[in-house]
């Protein structure tokens, strides 16, 4: 198949200008956290939902709010609480006394960007409702089914240190997030800047710099990014190594992995790699893209055994080993 990479490169150069604009706008408010911002953009460009995990105070919520503010799009923030009901999320039928009929009251999920704050604070039925909507991209209220807006992106946050009174997401549902980001602390210089910015000065206003149409167009372009079969096979090697580590010379992982990554991992790794290449203004995927995004795609899809837990080995350790041992094409 002849691929005109030059043409794709040119198109990408033209149509990815908004990336810098968004980054610049977000940087007005968020100091550092380039990793998080880039992954959020990857989620946005590859139509995949993102789960952000990190201790409180790392600007997870602020980053998502700022990103949504930089896009001319509808944004909803939903604070997940133990008493939240599915109807509070997706909407409900309301009886209209004037007409004697039921009227559909759409919930906050009918938006482009959803910030599901502290998603693990709501019970399973609310989580299920959200996660179902995430996959189906439609919501059924009563007898009517309503498609969700496009772009539709859920950015959920959860706090890993408070487990009291939380409802951890089941593996099957967590698998629906394209990326799970582990947000770390800023470095010293960044924190100095954060201190100065927050010392009484007003928070800079973020202007919308891109409209949803540009995002949808960029998504189309992302899907056109060329990925060679060698890189596709590399992705498969990585995913299969999490399932059958012995076959890939990773005997040490055999007893540590209870369940490897699902085919959804391959799909998302494929898509996310393309989006990563797009962000690098490249019309083709290189193994570097796969390795860069591999951890975020895989860390929540691997279930480790009790032996691994006993050895204090996490899914991240497993993914790191796989990424460092599989031969790069």
């Amino acid at each position: 198949m002849a691929v005109d990479i030059q043409a794709i490169n040119e198109k990408i150069k033209r149509e990815s200008e908004f990336v810098e604009k968004i980054t610049a706008e977000v940087s007005k408010v968020i100091v550092g956290q380039r990793y998080m911002i880039e992954r959020l953009l990857i989620g946005l460009l590859s139509n995949g939902h993102v789960l952000l995990e990190g201790v409180p105070g790392l600007a997870k919520t602020l980053a998502v709010k700022t990103l949504s503010a930089a896009i001319k799009t509808k944004f909803q923030r939903i604070q997940f609480t133990p008493d939240l009901l599915p109807a509070d999320l997706i909407g409900t039928l309301i009886y209209d006394q004037r007409n004697g009929d039921f009227r559909t009251k759409k919930g906050p999920i009918f938006s482009n960007l959803i910030l599901a704050d502290e998603i693990n604070r709501s019970p399973a039925k609310v989580q299920s409702a959200l996660l179902e909507a995430m996959m189906e991209r439609q919501v059924t209220i009563g007898e009517n089914t309503f498609p969700l807006d496009d772009p539709f992106l859920v950015l959920a946050t959860q706090n890993p240190i408070e487990q009291e009174g939380t409802y951890p997401l089941p593996e099957a549902q967590i698998d629906r997030f394209m990326l799970k980001l582990s947000i770390g602390y800023p470095n010293k210089e960044e924190e100095l800047e954060i201190m100065r910015r927050m010392a009484g000065r007003p928070v800079p206003e973020v202007k919308p710099v891109v409209d949803p149409a540009a995002i949808i167009s960029a998504r189309k372009l992302v899907s056109e990014v060329y990925i060679d079969e060698k890189v596709e096979r590399y992705i498969l090697d990585i995913v299969f190594a999490t399932r059958h580590p012995k076959e890939y010379g990773l005997e040490e992982l055999q007893d540590l992995i209870a369940f490897g990554a699902s085919p959804r991992a391959s799909i998302y790794l494929h898509q996310a790699s393309k989006a990563h290449a797009f962000l690098r203004r490249r019309g083709y995927v290189v193994p570097e893209d796969v390795r860069a995004i591999g951890m975020d795609v895989l860390r929540h899809r691997i279930i480790v055994t009790y032996e691994a837990e006993a050895e204090e080995k996490t899914a991240e350790d497993v993914v790191r080993t796989v990424l460092n041992k599989i031969e790069v094409p």
């Binding site: 691929v3 060329y226 060679d228 083709y284 290189v286 193994p287 599989i326 790069v328």
Partner: protein
């Protein structure tokens, strides 16, 4: 112990060349208290270039102050000259009786070949008990002076011995040093042989596996890239096969490699990546350039290694 030495000396004096003359004129109270004089030479024949030791011994038992040797003249010599002398007194007890021995030693040097003589000596002494002066006369001794012989120089022998020992020690040390040096050089040669074939092997592989005329340049780039990564992992001990090209460059930059080498490697890796992953969209001549750069790197590394080992 002293007594033992004394007995040994006495028994020695009793051998030939020993002449003892009791004082015939003395009037001792008992024979045991009589004063005696004896003379002795340490050899009957003496090479002309050697010396002979002449010993005069005067002894008595009893009171120390019983006798007083008035005067001992030098011996009268024929064909000898005195080159050294000494005297000593010994007072001790033997079998409960006090014994006094006065010893006079002369070192005599022969003058010419033939016979040499030491005339009898007359020793005047005074018996203090009776306040009388008497004399002792010793025998005449003869010593034959023979042809000179090579003098045994013990210092020379000692020095020679020490020198020989030192020579042996140095020889052994040198042998060990040379052996170790040879082993070290052999090890270096072995290492050199291990590394030189690495570059040579890759140069051969490069020639055999990369076909510059291959119409499917993507395949050639893949083979070239794999070859280069394998070489880098072996040469620089980095996991080049498991990491991406930019990561390889980062690893190489951590080492003390020349900027030129890193830049060349980066160029080859980037060109290969572009060719491999972008559907073969590379400019013509890129494969040749990558090939040449890789070949150049291999040749340079080989040369540098050989120079460093020399």
């Amino acid at each position: 112990m002293t007594r033992l030495i004394f007995y040994i000396c006495l028994s020695f004096f009793a051998t030939n060349n020993f002449a003892q003359t009791p004082d015939s004129t003395a009037t001792p109270d008992s024979l045991a208290e009589a004063i005696t004089a004896s003379v002795q030479v340490d050899r009957k024949e003496v090479p002309q270039n050697f010396t002979v030791k002449f010993t005069l011994r005067i002894s008595w038992q009893g009171e120390v102050s019983r006798y007083k040797v008035e005067k001992v003249d030098n011996p009268v010599l024929t064909n000898f000259e005195i080159v050294g002398n000494s005297s000593s007194n010994w007072v001790g007890e033997i079998g409960g009786a006090k014994k006094i021995i006065q010893t006079y030693e002369y070192v005599l040097k022969p003058l010419s070949l033939g016979m040499g003589y030491i005339d009898g000596m007359i020793i005047d002494y005074k018996d203090t008990r009776y306040d009388e002066i008497h004399s002792l006369v010793t025998n005449r001794l003869e010593v034959k002076v023979i042809d000179p012989v090579v003098e045994t120089n013990w210092t020379l022998w000692l020095l020679t011995g020490v020198g020989l020992v030192l020579l042996v020690v140095l020889t052994v040390a040198a042998a060990i040093f040379i052996k170790r040096k040879n082993a070290r050089e052999a090890e270096q040669r072995r290492q050199m042989l291990q590394i030189i074939p690495l570059e040579e092997t890759y140069l051969n592989d490069l020639k055999q596996k990369i076909n510059l005329n291959n119409s499917n340049s993507g395949e050639s780039f893949s083979a070239l890239s794999k070859l280069l990564k394998r070489y880098l992992s072996e040469r620089y001990q980095i996991p080049a096969l498991e990491i991406t090209s930019p990561e390889i460059v980062v690893e190489l930059k951590k080492m003390a490699l020349s900027e030129k080498l890193i830049a060349q490697l980066e160029e080859v890796l980037s060109a290969c990546d572009l060719a491999k992953f972008s559907g073969g969209q590379v400019e013509s001549g890129t494969l040749e350039r990558c090939y040449t750069l890789f070949e150049d790197i291999l040749n340079r590394n080989k040369r540098e290694f050989i120079e460093s080992t020399n």
